[in-house]
């Protein structure tokens, strides 16, 4: 349905930030980025998926986050970290892979866009951490497909952030560094802005380092101080979930105040809560190791861009965790330059993704914008070589080096090592190590039918093509015959068969796309339920009173009392939450 005559429905492409803690979706329309708010009217949707144990339906977002506090066994969060891993999450007895969980989030974002735009959008640009491995990118792409989205581009998060940032200052040329410390991943990218073109020069990072780790350190410190056995995390998940939330709040409080308290709830039912006072002196040693890990990719990126630290004009901070004062101090210490935080650290990536989507849609407003990105890990094959008559196997030979601008296509030639060798197996790897055992395997390419000849006489030219969609294609050509022998390249992440695909899609149908009001009511009740367990007796009575009132109003199904009681209950919850937070 076309409500707006200017916009052709086919041209909309979603820009999606699929974050570790929060996700968001935006489109580019009428020359600017429009962030789609969710059913609750918020632009950030927590990347939490919960499953209702009763009807087996799946809920995404704030409501799920509330459920994760009261029923940790029914909810999953931070699953982005395990993208493309074997790990499965149990949600009220059913198992989901991180890909499926991400697909739920994407589907929910897609329905938000449908609600706001009034039309279904089936194409998307999805962002991933720049340091995501090939396999994780494929997994993200798969999640998009399962959610019914054609993923036109897997975009690096820092690049997206830089686009959002660069758009505001097209007139000023220079190099800058994007420091993206999100919930679960850490990326550093160095960009060059030159007459409207944004070129990523280099990128580095760590795929498992983020704000969550800082929270985790606080938690383990709290548990240690309270004398709680660390394994209690699994024995009493409810208490742990509450501790988790409190630690998160304490971490945030430390951004604004010098001290914060962390209340460790009694694990295993009985006992008293232990209150621990946190200040920067306590936290610094806890976090030191994490801070040390941050410094290294920064240096790698600067070196990869062939620059000196002095050459950087600005540092752009992206990601919620960069709000932490320790991080700011560290960045200021590492780069003696102006810190730029103009962009909203939470939404910059989403905006950038929407801009990238506009580039795909050929939007006139971005016709003079060019953005080039780089490959974050070297891609290559395993080779053997001979040292003093002995074959040394398992060496990594890069074909496309990291920080190569994509799309790109590179070739390398390799030779047989045995006489009469007719078959060559190229293990495709990704990484920077010398030995493939320290790299990640991406797939395998079998080249058969190499003409028989003495060792080293037959060469195979291997071509790696990496496109913007994040697709790696590998092709091998036997030099002597000039024949392209085999194009089939077996990925480690096997493509889904039709049957598997339809099965996976069917599972995703469980997603409950609540009409906004129902979601709101549900969210509020879940939140109030969660609070009930935390508050003292007086507040509990009061809270229960309002909950009952709200439930009664819901029974009557008349809009006005529902609205009224909902407002009251929300106020009470807010008050209790604030009281809880020092």
């Amino acid at each position: 349905m076309e409500t707006d005559s200017n916009s052709n429905p086919a041209t909309f492409i979603l820009g999606i930030d699929l974050g570790t803690t929060n996700s968001a979706v935006a489109v580019f329309r009428e020359g600017e980025v429009a962030v789609m708010s969710n059913a609750l009217g918020e632009s950030l949707t927590p990347s939490v998926v919960a499953r209702d144990p009763e009807d087996g339906r799946v809920i995404v977002g704030q409501t799920a986050k509330e459920i994760s506090l009261s029923h940790p066994d029914c909810a999953a969060s931070v699953f982005k970290r395990d993208m493309a891993s074997e790990r499965e999450y149990a949600l009220a007895g059913a198992f989901f892979t991180p890909i499926e969980l991400s697909a739920f989030v994407l589907k929910s974002l897609k329905s938000d866009a449908l609600r706001v735009l009034g039309q279904e959008v089936c194409k998307a640009v999805i962002t991933v951490p720049a340091y995501f491995a090939e396999e994780q990118r494929q997994a993200t792409k798969r999640a998009g497909e399962l959610a019914g989205l054609e993923v036109v581009r897997i975009l690096n998060e820092p690049t997206a952030a830089a686009m959002a940032y660069g758009l505001h200052r097209r007139d000023r040329d220079g190099s800058f560094l994007v420091f993206d410390l999100g919930g679960g991943t850490f990326d550093v990218s160095i960009m060059e802005l030159f007459e409207g073109s944004l070129e990523v020069l280099s990128t580095a990072g760590e795929s498992r380092l983020g704000g969550e780790d800082f929270t985790r350190r606080l938690i383990s410190y709290g548990m240690k101080q309270a004398g709680v056995d660390p394994s209690s995390e699994w024995s009493d998940p409810v208490a742990f979930a509450r501790l988790y939330r409190r630690a998160e709040l304490a971490k945030r409080a430390l951004s604004e105040h010098d001290t914060a308290t962390l209340e460790v709830p009694p694990f295993g039912g009985d006992g008293l809560a232990t209150t621990i006072v946190l200040d920067r002196e306590v936290c610094r040693p806890l976090w030191q190791e994490l801070l040390d890990r941050i410094a290294k990719p920064c240096r790698t990126a600067v070196r990869g861009a062939d620059l000196e630290i002095e050459d950087l004009d600005e540092v752009v901070l992206v990601g919620g965790a960069t709000r932490m004062p320790v991080i700011r101090e560290l960045v200021a210490k590492l780069f003696d330059v102006h810190l730029r935080v103009e962009v909203d650290p939470d939404l910059a990536i989403t905006e950038g993704a929407a801009l990238q989507a506009a580039l795909y849609a050929n939007d006139q407003a971005v016709s003079d914008v060019v953005v080039t990105d780089v490959l974050s890990h070297s891609l290559g094959v395993d080779v053997s070589y001979e040292i003093a008559g002995k074959l040394i196997n398992g060496n990594f030979s890069p074909v496309i080096h990291r920080n190569t601008t994509i799309p790109t296509s590179r070739t390398e030639t390799y030779y047989t090592i045995f006489d009469q060798q007719t078959e060559i197996n190229f293990g495709i790897y990704e990484g920077e190590a010398r030995k493939v055992k320290n790299c990640r395997k991406v797939g395998l390419l079998k080249v058969k039918g190499v003409p028989k000849n003495a060792a080293g006489k037959e060469g195979v030219e291997v071509r790696f093509t990496y496109d913007l969609g994040g697709m790696l294609e590998v092709e091998a050509k036997v030099l002597s015959s000039g024949k392209i022998i085999n194009k089939v390249f077996e990925r480690s992440l096997k493509p889904l068969s039709d049957k598997e695909r339809s099965k996976a899609m069917a599972r995703l149908k469980q997603l409950k796309v609540d009409p906004s009001e129902k979601a709101l009511n549900r969210d509020l009740l879940a939140r109030a339920d969660g609070l009930l367990e935390e508050v003292g007796p007086e507040a509990r009575d009061q809270l229960e009173y309002y909950i009952r009132g709200f439930e009664e109003a819901l029974e009557t199904r008349t809009p006005r009392p529902i609205k009224e009681t909902r407002r009251q209950l929300r106020e009470v919850c807010d008050r209790i939450d604030e009281g809880n937070r020092w």
């Binding site: 580039l359 050929n362 016709s367 601008t405 790109t408 010398r434």
Partner: protein
């Protein structure tokens, strides 16, 4: 939308003039990619990008090309003022801090090369080293060069073709041909191919560039990573001897980029040899090469840099150091060799072998020289760390298990130190039986061949449906009985043989004996040698089947050296 020119020439693709500066190139690139965005024109984008990268890399040095003739004349002028004698360029080197006192010629050069501060300093170092035989190359431009200066390229091309055919030994012609291509706006690769060709014809183009061409006009060849890389693939192991490397290093040095010398060369080697070698190994070897050619001082910054680079990887660090030591070994610089091994602080399996290998290769090849160095080091207290490393290596070897196959050395620490009696036994070559069961098994194995032979008819019988065919047939029965008979007959002999010494002990005794002999050879008294053996290595067990001969001998040489060093170390250590 205009089509992208269907050409591989980067200048044509980007539509810029040869000699364009970095900014112009970048602008042209951006204007093009705005039309051919990567999102919609991936193939065009890739071609534009490739052209851009090629030109961007060369842009840094292109600056010198437009002034080529100018500076060329300048250089002629400077040489005229100095006289044609190239010896004038040879700087005296008497000052210790600044080994070369700048003379007029140098001043001239410095002016031209004012951009490269490092270069000046560096050139002083390497210029003080070897000089190509001066006088071999004419300092006068060839008669064809005037054609080039007058932009008569076609005539010049023809002229150079015949000139090169007639006088392939004249280095200058190759350089002028290069300069001609550069002026014609040929791509860098095409132009540089002439320099490579000169090298291939065994001409010392490096010396020519250094001695005759003023610094500003020396081609900045090395800025391109893959320069000469193809040729290198043909000669992956021609380290040191490789003229390509030499030219590459030379040109980096011309640019005065020490760090790049290390980094780019290491990287280039890594890339071009398809990971035949390690990045750091590349650097280490380069550093050694630079050191060999231009003196240790020139290599120092590279080494420092490589060390810093490798510091994040303890495993690599040691390897790098060890390899570096190894590399130094190829040059008569024992000090360096031992310094590098001495600073090795992590004991890494491969490296310890390498270390032993390196040390022993030297001891055998140049016994006097290295032995003296070693002893000198042992006498200086601050060098004791090397000895400590050697000891650590030994101790480490006790524990380490090589994941690639078998124990390297196994000091069986669980075993009691053997008595002198056992020692004498071992050294006297009269090994005693160890275990009855082992002996029995060995015996059966030895004579078993005949038993197995006897089994064949039975097996044949089992295959054909009648199981006892073999026994029922008289001739087969005869063969069977014979075979069993032989087996039984052989058994006592086998028992006697294996009863004396099983395979393992046999090996132990030979190895120990060999070691003992070596100790005596290096001047130990028999009693000392025995003591040392008993003390350290009698429990040394070699798994002869797994341990390649060469390693065994390496280990022995290693231990022998250890003995020598230890015996000479002052007591107060």
């Amino acid at each position: 939308m205009a089509e992208l020119p269907d050409s591989n020439d980067p200048f044509e693709v980007l539509g810029v003039e040869p000699g364009a500066d970095r900014k112009t190139i970048k602008r042209a690139y951006i204007a093009l990619v705005k039309r051919f965005k990567p999102e919609h024109f991936p193939d065009e984008f890739q071609r534009i990008r490739a052209a851009y990268e090629t030109l961007r890399e060369s842009a840094a040095q292109t600056a010198s090309l437009p002034f080529l003739d100018e500076a060329w004349q300048e250089s002629e002028a400077s040489q005229e003022s100095e006289g044609v004698d190239p010896d004038c360029l040879e700087p005296p080197s008497q000052e210790p801090v600044e080994p070369i006192s700048p003379n007029d010629a140098r001043d001239q050069e410095e002016e031209v090369a004012a951009d490269f501060e490092v270069e000046v300093e560096f050139r002083e170092v390497y210029d003080s080293e070897e000089r190509a035989e001066p006088g071999e190359d004419s300092d006068e431009p060839s008669e064809l060069w005037s054609l080039v200066l007058e932009d008569q390229f076609e005539e010049a091309l023809i002229g150079y073709e015949s000139a090169l055919a007639a006088r392939p030994d004249e280095t200058r012609l190759y350089f002028e041909r290069y300069a001609l291509d550069a002026r014609r706006g040929e791509s860098r690769e095409v132009a540089q191919a002439w320099l490579i060709l000169a090298f291939k014809n065994k001409l010392d183009i490096c010396a020519f560039l250094r001695n005759v061409v003023p610094p500003g006009e020396r081609p900045g060849i090395a800025v391109r990573d893959d320069w000469g890389a193809e040729d290198l693939i043909d000669h992956p192991d021609s380290f040191g001897a490789s003229w390509i490397w030499r030219l590459r290093i030379e040109s980096f040095l011309c640019l005065g980029k020490i760090e790049r010398v290390a980094r780019e060369l290491g990287t280039a080697r890594y890339q071009s040899l398809a990971a035949n070698d390690d990045f750091y190994l590349g650097i280490a070897q380069r550093a050694a090469a630079v050191g060999a050619w231009y003196g240790p001082d020139a290599a120092a910054p590279i080494e420092e840099w490589a060390l810093e680079e490798a510091s994040g990887y303890p495993e690599l660090l040691f390897e790098t150091k060890a390899v570096r030591g190894d590399a130094w070994r190829e040059h008569p610089m024992p000090d360096r060799l031992f310094r590098w091994f001495g600073v090795a602080d992590t004991i890494y399996w491969d490296s310890s072998v390498l270390m032993a290998d390196a040390v022993f290769a030297d001891v055998e090849d140049r016994p006097f020289e290295y032995h003296e160095v070693l002893l000198k080091m042992a006498e200086e207290p601050e060098k004791h760390s090397f000895l400590k490393d050697v000891n650590d290596t030994l101790e480490y070897l006790v524990e380490v298990e090589d994941d690639e196959g078998g124990f390297f050395l196994d000091f069986d620490t669980g075993v009691e130190p053997p008595s002198l009696e056992v020692m004498e036994d071992a050294l006297g070559g009269i090994p005693r039986p160890k275990s009855r069961i082992r002996v029995l098994v060995s015996t059966i194995n030895s004579s078993g061949m005949w038993l197995y032979f006897a089994m064949i008819p039975l097996l044949i019988g089992a295959v054909f449906t009648e199981p006892y065919w073999a026994l029922s047939d008289p001739s087969v029965r005869f063969i069977l009985i014979i075979a069993i008979g032989i087996a039984i007959f052989r058994m006592p002999a086998a028992y006697r043989k294996y009863g004396k010494h099983d395979a393992q002990r046999l090996d132990l005794s030979t190895v120990t004996l060999e070691y003992y002999r070596r100790l005596l050879n290096v001047g130990a008294k028999p009693s000392q040698a025995r003591e040392f053996l008993a003390d350290r290595c009698v429990a040394l067990r070699f798994d002869a089947s797994q341990l390649p001969r060469i390693r065994r001998s390496q280990a022995l040489r290693f231990l022998t050296l250890l003995y020598r060093v230890q015996k000479r170390v002052p007591d107060d250590q």
